[in-house]
Subunit: 222 residues, 2 copies
DNA sequence: TTTTCAAAAATTGGATACAATTATTCAATG
DNA sequence: CATTGAATAATTGTATCCAATTTTTGAAAA
C-alpha cells in the first residue's frame, strides 16, 4: 500500500483539476466581482471541450465562488457586508467549538507541526501559497478535534471569503498582526489553554473580517 | 413585478428539476445505501440525455447525498454513527444560534404561520410531503432571525440526514412526540421565551438523532 | 438625438457519438 | 473445483454538433 506524502489532494478528474485551477485563478484575482466566465474561452485556454468546463463551474458554484444564471453564464460572486458579518459569526461559532475540542487534544507533535506551517507561512511570498499555508495552519490547529464534518463545513465558510482576505495582503502591518495572532494560537495550544485560544481566535477572526469587509465593498448581485 | 406566492422554488433548469426529482426519490428510499445510480438508466427514465443527469448528480454530490467515484458511478451515501453525532452537534450549535436571534423577533403573524404549517404537518400522510412540511416548519421558525447564510448551512446539515429521519416515520409514538416538540417550540416562540425554546430544540434534535442513528446503521463506503 | 424593434451574432443548454476505464464472462490452467 | 487472465460487455468521461436563449447591432421612427 502506497501512502501519499504530499498534503495536496490530486484531482484525477479533469473537471476536478479544472475546478482547482479556476479556483486559484479566482483567488489570484484574475476576474473582478460580477465578471462573467465564458465557457468557450476557458475551454480553448485549457484545450478541452466545454463539458468538463461546465462541470468545473458547477463545482465552483457549489463552493459559493460564482453565481450561475440560466442561459446567462457564470459570474464571480461578490459579498454584501451583511453576508460577511454572518459568515464570520458562523466561523466563530464553529471554530470556537473546534478549538474547545482540539486544544485539550493537542500534543507536542501537533504543536510542532503548527510551528512548522507557521514558519513556512511567514516566508510565503506568493499570494496563492499564502492562502494554502493559512488553510493548512487552521486545519492543523483543528485536526486534533477529529471532527471531519465540522472541518468540511468550515471550508465552505472560508471559500467565498479567501478571495478577499488575501487581496489586502500587501499591508505588512496586518501581515505582522496575522503572524502574532497565529503565534498566540500556537502557544495557547502548547499550554492547552482553551480560554486563551478562544480569545485569540476571536481576535484573529475579527481582524480578518475587517480586511474582508474593506475588500468586498462592491454592491453586486444575488 | 410578480410576487411568487408558493414557497417552492421552481427549477427552471432541467438539471435542477432532475436533481429535485432524484432527491425526492432518494428520500423516498428508492435506492438503498451503497447502491449505484446508473446514468443511462436515469436518462432513459426521464427521457433526457446523460448530460443533464450528470449535472443533477453533481448537485446531489455537493449536497452530500451521493458519493461519486471516477469511472465508477454515483452511489447512495451512508452515514457512520460518528458522522451522525457530529452532524447533530453542529445542528444544535447553529439552530441554537438561530433560535437565540429568531425568538425575540417572532411576531403574532410569524407564530400564526408556524401553527398553520404544524397543522398541515400533522395531517401529512405522504413521506415526502412530511419532509417538506418539516423543512418549512424549521425555516419559518428561524426566518425572523434573518440569517440566510445560516439557513443555507443548516440545509446542508439536514440534507444527508432527511433520508433516515423519515424512514422510521411509522412509529406513531415518535410522530406524536415530534408533534409535541414542535408545539413546545411554537409556544416558546409565542411567549418569546428563548431559554425554553433552546431546551425544546435540544430535546427535538436529540430525539431525531436517535431515530437517524437507528436507521443509519449500515457500514458502507468512502 | 434618443428610442424602438427586428435581425444577426454570441452564448449557453442538451443530444448524439466516440474514447477511456471498469466490470464481467468464460475458457484455460493448476 | 478454484483461480487466473484475456476477450467482451457495460459504464462513465469527453468532444462535436444542434437547439434554445440572450445579447448586440443597426436602421427606422419619434
Amino acid at each position: 500500500m502506497i501512502l501519499r506524502t504530499t498534503p495536496c489532494i490530486k484531482a484525477i478528474t479533469t473537471a476536478g483539476a479544472l475546478a482547482e485551477r479556476l479556483r486559484n485563478e479566482i483567488n489570484a484575482g484574475r476576474w473582478t466581482v460580477g465578471e462573467t466566465l465564458r465557457q468557450e474561452e476557458l475551454a480553448s485556454e485549457f484545450a478541452v471541450s466545454r463539458i468538463p468546463i461546465r462541470e468545473a463551474l458547477a463545482q465552483l458554484h457549489a463552493e459559493g465562488l460564482i453565481v450561475v444564471e440560466h442561459y446567462r453564464g457564470a459570474r464571480i460572486k461578490g459579498l454584501e457586508p451583511l453576508q460577511v458579518e454572518e459568515l464570520f459569526d458562523l466561523r466563530l461559532l464553529i471554530e470556537g467549538d473546534l478549538l474547545r475540542r482540539a486544544i485539550p487534544a493537542h500534543t507536542k507533535a501537533s504543536v510542532r507541526r503548527l510551528q512548522l506551517i507557521q514558519t513556512q507561512l511567514r516566508h510565503e511570498e506568493n499570494r496563492l501559497g499564502w492562502i494554502a499555508s493559512d488553510r493548512a495552519f487552521h486545519e492543523a490547529l483543528y485536526a486534533p478535534a477529529d471532527r471531519p464534518q465540522s472541518l468540511a463545513l468550515l471550508g465552505q465558510l472560508r471559500a467565498p471569503v479567501e478571495r478577499f482576505s488575501l487581496q489586502q495582503l500587501s499591508p505588512r502591518a496586518r501581515q505582522r498582526e496575522w503572524d502574532q495572532e497565529h503565534r498566540a494560537l500556537i502557544s495557547a495550544a502548547a499550554a492547552r489553554d482553551t480560554d486563551t485560544a478562544l480569545a485569540a481566535i476571536k481576535k484573529h477572526l475579527d481582524g480578518t473580517r475587517a480586511i474582508v469587509l474593506a475588500a468586498a465593498c462592491s454592491p453586486q448581485e444575488e
